[in-house]
Symmetry: C2
Subunit: 400 residues, 2 copies
């Protein structure tokens, strides 16, 4: 493992995962097949392990895999086989889940921004569960998916998240009450409340905000005769990047304590929408070093990879996600580098502030693996930015 | 045209382009064909007009179209027919140009970050002109493309650019001298100097920095017996967004004056690499309004489009490029909006700081056209972010 301790203060302690589970079958594949780079390799065994671990940790929650995190058909198929439900963002993701054998009643249309005809299409396909956070969207659901269950997304504090949501989604609890009461008037099933604590959330206590807000919505609705039944805990559970994150048990404890505090014995039905947590650690992205140069301004080495912000590493924007790295020269003495992508784009720089330390012997043709890169990578590649092809995904099965 | 004057101070004065050339054939296509949204429509007549206009304005410069700006095969084919040369960033772009009939000697491999095997492949295909800015890359060119022409990219001030390059490309003039002298030692043809004044450059005097730096490199090389012959003026010529930009003549005057000042009678061969300037104004991106909501915090309306940062509007990152808009409700009273894309991503917000004013009557199903959206859009779409399909491009020909 490349030494990051100098810049991140991370020790190499796994956060609830065995390194061998993650990397071995993938390395075997990479060593034997030597696929053209860049490419992403996903180990389905890790996907299964993460799903089951969460299943055990939150036995009462319905697990809706956030398909957007990695829509590789094999991953979705694997999760269908395990009995998962699915959180989808678009008609395309609904098609994918159905094509892989998911029952329509396992699908939650979690995007609050939906064309009316897309809602109608989902309804015609059997989808009966929809997120909302505005009167306009709610009216669309009532018209195009009559009688469906709806849950309202509330806006909560995202402190502690590596990629907070800003103001785009969710409404205040008072608005949620109004919308859910209105939902019943429109003939919909006012089902519950959702929130998102922010992706790659590093504070296990962060769910307190959302669960508290949910309780207020439950109370507000009850006061108007509308009995909600469900709290959707959203996503936010972490993958293993360079930051040290608490183990899953800490998150579960934080969630359970908040539920006890706010709902006591009247525990609602629970949904959870993990994406990154299920597939992040299951993937390794192999890249090749294109070039190593000395910066003109004396500010050390630049290492250019054949993977960049536009063909898979979208989440390096603002250096939000800092992947763990492994190189074909690990063990050699290291020094600081700026890491950049291969395109003619000045913004295609991966890490400049977060200064990685990589082997001084690194040169063109060497490999750099980005670990825990299974989430929010391949499907974010551009179709052909600068003429580079999209990142391909290969699946292996460490149990097979 | 939607009123932007309240926020941008722009008058509707065209900057060297007739509105009718830009929009009519495209509107005709959109009105008659009613293609599914979002989509980009490019008018090849405008591409021709822009190329010829630049040809006339800079008669001594070899025009290398920056393929990355819009690699639609029909656009590349059109420019091949007009006798253009091409600036390419990757093997994929070389393949594209050759497939559309470009001669290999019209291709300039302008990316300073190249795998050695990609250089070898380009050389085998007949490409003989390469950019460089580092010793490692130069060694690769010498080995894999022996005897080729090389030009060295110098780093220059990008003030005035909407999307400056940062420190990723280019070296100081002293380094360029060293590299070009070394190039000759390695058996390469030390051809000249390139620079990039920054994309969507709004200051016609900005080329002064690069031309001055080029002269210094010419002098430094001459002192060591290496006579350079070419200055590559790069890109940077603008398209017509909400900002008022000077007419093309002003840029040409700025360039000519700087050339006179620094090169006098010893005028070098010239290259220029327009991308945005050739295709930007040739394209209209049609989108549909998905939803209009009142923000929960009382901060006005949010308009969600079916186009966003991840399916074509990559250049709205940091609100760098502010497209002119046209809606199907133009003429109705307007008010401020936040504009956002359709995905479940908190960063998929197009304009929040730059507050557009759109019709108060706007609602789901209406259309919003982004004008001058022909550059850096379709090929930047993700393959399937959130399950949304990439932006398709249609070509029309306003002269046909």
């Amino acid at each position: 493992m490349t030494d990051l301790s100098a810049t991140t203060g991370v020790t190499d302690r796994p956060s609830g995962t065995a390194e061998s589970v993650e990397s071995d079958p993938i390395r075997r594949f990479l060593d034997r097949q030597r696929p053209e780079t860049p490419c992403l390799v996903v180990d389905l065994a890790t996907v299964r392990q993460r799903y089951r671990q969460l299943r055990t940790a939150l036995p009462d929650a319905r697990i809706c895999y956030a398909v957007k995190a990695n829509p590789t058909p094999e991953v979705v198929g694997e999760l269908v086989g395990l009995g998962a439900s699915f959180d989808v963002a678009s008609p395309g993701e609904i098609e994918l889940c159905l094509a892989k054998g998911a029952a329509p009643e396992t699908i939650s249309y979690g995007n609050t921004i939906k064309k009316r005809r897309d809602v109608a299409r989902a309804h015609a396909q059997g989808v009966r569960l929809f997120a909302t956070d505005s009167a306009a969207d709610l009216a669309g659901i009532a018209e195009a998916a009559p009688g469906s269950k709806v849950f309202c997304r509330v806006l909560v504090d995202n402190t502690g998240s590596r990629t907070p949501f800003g103001r785009k989604f969710g409404c205040p609890p008072e608005t949620a009450v109004r919308l859910l009461v209105r939902a019943r008037e429109l003939g919909l099933d006012a089902y519950g409340v959702s929130f998102h604590s922010g992706s790659q959330q590093q504070d296990p206590a962060a769910w307190e905000h959302g669960i508290n807000a949910a309780r207020r919505v439950f109370e507000g609705c009850a006061a108007q005769g509308v009995e909600l039944r469900m709290v959707n805990l959203g996503g936010g559970l972490p993958a293993r990047y360079t930051d040290s994150t608490p183990p899953l048990e800490d998150y579960v404890r934080g969630i359970e304590e908040a539920l006890d505090r706010h709902f006591g014995d009247g525990r609602p039905e629970l949904l959870v929408e993990p994406g990154r947590h299920v597939v992040g650690d299951a993937g390794v992205l192999r890249s090749e070093v294109v070039l190593v140069t000395d910066a003109c301004d004396g500010d050390g080495r630049w290492v250019y990879l054949d993977i960049g912000r536009y063909n898979g590493l979208a989440e390096t924007e603002g250096e939000a996600i800092t992947y763990r790295l492994r190189t074909s020269r690990d063990g050699d003495p290291v020094g600081p580098v700026v890491l950049a992508g291969p395109t003619c784009d000045g913004d295609d720089v991966l890490y400049q502030r977060h200064r990685y330390r990589l082997p001084l012997t690194l040169r063109g043709g060497d490999t750099v693996d980005l670990l825990s890169a299974g989430a929010y990578t391949a499907s974010y590649s551009s179709v052909g930015f600068n003429g580079f092809t999209p990142l391909p995904t290969y699946c292996v099965d460490g149990d097979a």
